[in-house]
Subunit: 138 residues, 2 copies
DNA sequence: TTTTGTGCAAATTCTTTGCAACGGC
DNA sequence: GCCGTTGCAAAGAATTTGCACAAAA
């Protein structure tokens, strides 16, 4: 149940806790998988929640701004997953069936500092995603 | 000058070395930056090479199949760079000006094996890209 | 009752496809 | 001359925008 906390976060930025935002959050909470906008849309249809695909896009962007949701770009499509205080992590996706498995690791802390020294960039973020063939699809 | 080698590679697969393929290769050879399809298109316009954007897409795909070109997906857009026998590497892109700098490293060999053990996936590929602010844009 | 959020339609961006004409080899 | 390649038009997928109406606070 994220709702109370979220209500606050929304109100603090002059935004509102609406039916559709609740529905998107509840779905992400239940599925615990990174979902694309159209997957969120159709899974909400299945739950008989009337929502427009446009609203899904707008909602995940608001949730991202609030820091509640993480956006990942996998195989040329954006997917969204709940943060829920989860540790920073990465994913592997099956090229055949699309299954996504969490990798509860990130070997890039030291490397990031090294890159900042070498390039004089300030490193803001990184993407690290693996692709391959899951046990079933091999 | 990649042309002779490339001509062979193309012919070996029943393909042809054409004006447009030469032009795309020459551009990638000169710029030495990962370019998007539309950047390739407009930079060829600047060079007074008549080519259709569709042909750019088809060309980079052929070059990718031949193993001459590397495709990277940065910030929701595909970019292409010459391999030219270059070592596997990654990139950092500036969020403001879009500049891309090569990172001549990859810390993921051991990790890949570990992931294969842990997940039973066969790991096929990975993406590792950094984003941040370049010295000029900080 | 004010201001934010939503749905609908339409636009935008990136990429792919179908097909007749063109051009390597 | 054969068959792969190109340009053009059009389709397709993912995402964004404009605007009037609906609904939180």
């Amino acid at each position: 149940m994220l709702e109370p906390t979220i209500g606050k976060g929304l109100r603090a930025t002059g935004r509102r806790l609406t039916r559709t935002r609740k529905a998107v959050l509840a779905l992400l909470e239940d599925t615990h998988q990174p979902l694309s906008a159209s997957e969120i849309y159709s899974q909400l249809q299945d739950r008989h929640v009337a929502i427009d695909l446009v609203t899904v896009y707008r909602t995940v962007n608001v949730l991202k701004e609030l820091g509640l949701v993480m956006q990942l770009d996998l195989q040329g499509q954006s997917r969204y997953e709940l943060k829920e205080g989860r540790k920073h992590h990465h994913h592997i996706q099956c090229r055949v069936c699309g299954e996504i498995v969490d990798l509860l690791l990130c070997p890039l802390k030291k490397l990031t500092r090294l890159i900042e020294e070498q390039t004089q960039f300030i490193v803001d973020d990184h993407t690290l995603e693996f692709a391959g063939f899951c046990p079933k699809c091999q």
